[in-house]
């Protein structure tokens, strides 16, 4: 019990003293996940909006596929990205394996379906409400997409935060494609896994506390924005 107490106090000291190694890991985690979410937004939002507004054969199947991809196991995503990026894989020539870029790619694959699916839900609901009014104002189906995206902005930020929450807490995929290399690809989750197995509980606990802090902050932002979106008459279906 005394051992745990001393590990806790060491963990707090690491955080408060601004331990360089600890904060470098936190910074890399944030960088990787923020980049991944931004790229997912650029891909997922237009795809989700297009699926909400456009009508074409196979649309329903694409929606089912996208929803299924939301629950894709991270380790399998990691394995697939590994195969793509490995020396003998189709993208091996880029030599991205075991780099932060590889981790960003893996997180993009994990987060994009979440962003796209939530965007589709939100935009479809709003499009149903706006449809006649926008047509009456002479706004075409295609031109309605930016209008809908802008008016659903609160709910869409919530979708991005949900994606960020998934990315920052992810361990399976990034450990496979990042390799958990010290000072290169070591992020919070992979460090916690490694340091716990090595018995270095102080660093693991410090990172765990920061990760929980980030998760709580993200959830608080999601709740606040959801409330505001609900007040504005828009929430996730």
């Amino acid at each position: 019990m005394q051992g745990f107490a001393s590990e806790f106090s060491s963990a707090i000291a690491l955080i408060l003293n601004g331990d360089a190694e600890l904060w470098a890991i936190v910074l890399l985690s944030l960088k990787v996940s923020i980049f991944a979410v931004l790229i997912s937004a650029v891909i997922g939002m237009p795809v989700g909006a297009a699926l909400a507004v456009a009508r074409f054969p196979g649309r329903r199947m694409l929606i089912v596929l996208m929803n299924a991809l939301m629950g894709f196991p991270p380790v399998v995503v990691g394995l697939l990205v590994y195969l793509m990026l490995s020396r003998s894989g189709p993208l091996g020539v880029l030599e991205l394996l075991y780099t932060p870029t590889a981790m960003i790619i893996a997180q993009v694959v994990l987060v994009t379906p979440i962003v796209a699916a939530l965007t589709r839900q939100v935009i479809e609901m709003l499009a149903e409400e706006y449809s006649e009014q926008l047509r009456s104002l002479g706004v075409s189906r295609l031109a309605s997409v930016p209008v809908l995206l802008w008016d659903a902005r609160l709910a869409l930020v919530t979708a991005l935060l949900a994606g960020f929450g998934r990315a920052i807490a992810e361990v399976g995929a990034v450990i496979i494609v990042g390799g958990n290399i010290n000072h290169v690809t070591r992020v919070m989750t992979t460090t916690i896994a490694l340091e716990t197995s090595k018995g270095n509980l102080a660093l693991a606990l410090a990172l765990g506390a920061i990760l929980i802090g980030i998760a709580v902050a993200v959830n608080a932002m999601v709740s606040t924005l959801s409330l505001r979106a609900e007040r504005e008459g828009l929430r996730h279906a």
Partner: protein, 244 residues
């Protein structure tokens, strides 16, 4: 006075328009011609086809048969651009009051300075000055409907369709909206409005289209239709009897 207003909206007519769903004729109007300055009020019980007819006239619904014509030509995008519509439930963008108006003014390609002046004029017209920056979704029912009407008027339409715009409003909010509608009519905007409020028809209408079961059962000058209806359906409706 209203009769002196020039009718710039021309003749809007319906030629054998029909809509059938699951074998049931929801709308079946062989001929209807709206060529007066209006306001034209479409009156009738629930399910009479009033809103469907309005949507056909505005081109929101393409009928299964027949055509809607403007000055003899089949209704096209150019005609539709000179029309506007206000719905029973105002659909406001999730933006500020001013941004809702700016949205349509911007689409007309007006420069920023002109838009600003026009927004101020419109808000004053609808008694919404002072609410410029307020979120449109936080307006009261009456204010929201007034904003929806202002946004439609911002398009400077020749014809303004209104689908029961006051059905959920109290008398004072209704009165404000009726005044806006009459002012627009006096300025030469042709008003075509759906209602099932006989009192409202008496206050606003120049001519009345009476509908029942998807058919137009009577169309004529408001005074004539309200005081001496020719059809049994109109007589029963005006007498407050049940019409199905």
């Amino acid at each position: 006075m209203r009769d002196l207003v020039p009718d710039r909206a021309g003749c809007l007519s319906v030629d054998g328009v029909g809509i059938t769903r699951k074998g049931k004729a929801l709308l079946d109007v062989s001929r209807l011609s709206l060529d007066g300055p209006g306001p034209t009020l479409i009156l009738g019980p629930n399910g009479a086809g009033k809103s469907l007819l309005l949507r056909c006239l505005h081109g929101l619904i393409v009928p299964d048969q027949g055509q809607v014509r403007q000055d003899g030509a089949i209704l096209n995008a150019e005609h539709k651009a000179r029309q506007a519509m206000v719905f029973q439930q105002p659909v406001l963008l999730r933006r500020s009051v001013a941004a809702n108006l700016d949205f349509v003014l911007k689409r007309q390609g007006l420069p920023r300075a002109t838009r600003k002046i026009r927004i101020e004029e419109l808000l004053a017209e609808g008694g919404l000055d002072g609410k410029t920056r307020q979120s449109a979704r936080s307006l009261s029912g009456g204010e929201a409907q007034r904003l929806a009407i202002l946004r439609a008027l911002a398009l400077e339409p020749e014809t303004l369709f209104l689908d029961e715009p006051t059905s959920a409003l109290d008398p004072s909010a209704t009165q404000m909206i009726e005044r806006m509608i009459l002012r627009a009519s006096t300025r030469g905007v042709r008003i075509v409005m759906v209602t099932h409020d006989i009192g409202q028809a008496r206050r606003l209408a120049a001519d009345i289209v009476m509908m029942q079961g998807g058919h137009v059962v009577e169309h004529g000058a408001a005074k004539q239709v309200l005081d001496a209806p020719e059809s049994d359906a109109a007589r029963r409706y005006l007498a407050g009897g049940l019409v199905t």
